[in-house]
């Protein structure tokens, strides 16, 4: 399966957070790497959307859409600051 990057989920992130998030600064809870959300490694066709840290590959975000609702797991992030 092809890995994309955080640019590819700009739409769903905007839907979830109510604002542009690809330029937001994220800090990985596993390795502490900090950088724009656009750099995440993103898999769209996992069961839901899975985003991984580009440095250590830890899962940083999971978004599952079902019945018109988005379930969002951000436990892989230590910080997320909108630009």
């Amino acid at each position: 399966m092809d890995a994309l990057d955080g640019n590819a989920i700009g739409g769903v992130l905007h839907e979830v957070f109510g604002t542009e998030m690809t330029a937001a600064t994220a800090t990985c809870a596993s390795c502490g790497a900090t950088g724009p959300v656009a750099l995440f490694t993103v898999f769209l066709r996992a069961p839901g959307i899975v985003a991984r840290c580009r440095v250590c590959s830890a899962v940083v975000m999971v978004i599952v859409s079902a019945k018109g609702m988005n379930c969002v797991d951000l436990r892989g992030l230590a910080r997320l600051d909108a630009a």
Partner: protein, 248 residues
């Protein structure tokens, strides 16, 4: 405008296809009439949603091909095993309606107003689309920021926007890397982009350049790593990955 985060809901809207243009044998540009479109920045994208009669929906993200201030347009490459691109590139006609939402993205964007750094654009295949928006925006704005484009593509007939890119040649150098097939007498680069070609085309790091790299994941990784080893600071290398060869 640079640095201003506009808080607004991202909602689906119905756009009408104003015109379609074939760019290559497998690539088509779709110009949209979208009355509720809020305008866009160069490099942004939009989401397209198709709904089948049975209610099944498919969403895809496409880079915006037009410059800020122009009618919104996307350029789509047909993937023969795709769910959405065959419809967009072969069935869709002027007058048809399409659900879209956007503009999307605030990282892979370039604003002429705020730009001073020399611009290096590197495209692999359909990764040219957002870079074309940037080139058009640059041309329309009249900025003096110098630009270079490195475009990796299978063969010359696969070059998207070729006649337009030729017109930029006076003010923005365009270098092609032909990865599969070159015409007889081709004196340009053959094969994939490598460190030597990058070193040849890229602005020296000392000029404080900014790079936008868009294409298949492997292309983006090669170019981004190459630029960093030439001394480009990683934040000055903006990347957007389309996945496997051929784009989304």
């Amino acid at each position: 405008m640079a640095g201003t985060a506009v808080r607004r809901r991202l909602t689906w809207q119905v756009a009408t296809v104003a015109a379609v243009f074939d760019e290559t044998a497998t690539v088509r540009t779709i110009e949209l009439g979208a009355p509720d479109w809020a305008g866009h920045r160069a490099g942004q994208h939009l989401d397209v949603r198709l709904t089948a009669e049975n209610g099944y929906t498919a969403e895809r993200s496409y880079s915006i091909a037009s410059a800020p201030g122009e009618p919104v347009a996307i350029t789509v490459q047909r993937l023969d095993d795709g769910e959405v691109s065959p419809y967009l590139t072969t069935e869709l006609r002027a007058g048809d309606e399409l659900e879209v939402r956007g503009p999307i993205g605030g990282y892979f964007v370039w604003d002429a107003d705020a730009a001073a750094s020399p611009l290096l654009l590197a495209a692999g295949g359909s990764g040219i689309v957002p870079l074309r928006s940037i080139l058009r925006h640059r041309a329309r704005s009249g900025t003096a920021v110098p630009a270079r484009l490195l475009y990796s593509v299978r063969s010359l007939p696969d070059v998207i926007y070729r006649s337009e890119l030729d017109q930029y040649a006076a003010s923005a150098s365009v270098t092609y890397a032909l990865t599969r097939q070159a015409p007889p007498g081709w004196t340009g680069h053959r094969g994939r982009v490598n460190a030597a070609l990058l070193a040849d085309v890229a602005w020296p790091a000392g000029r404080d350049p900014v790079a936008y790299v868009c294409g298949p994941t492997s292309f983006v990784e090669t170019v981004a790593e190459g630029l960093v080893s030439l001394g480009y600071p990683p934040p000055q290398v903006k990347t957007e990955r389309f996945g496997g060869p051929g784009g989304p």
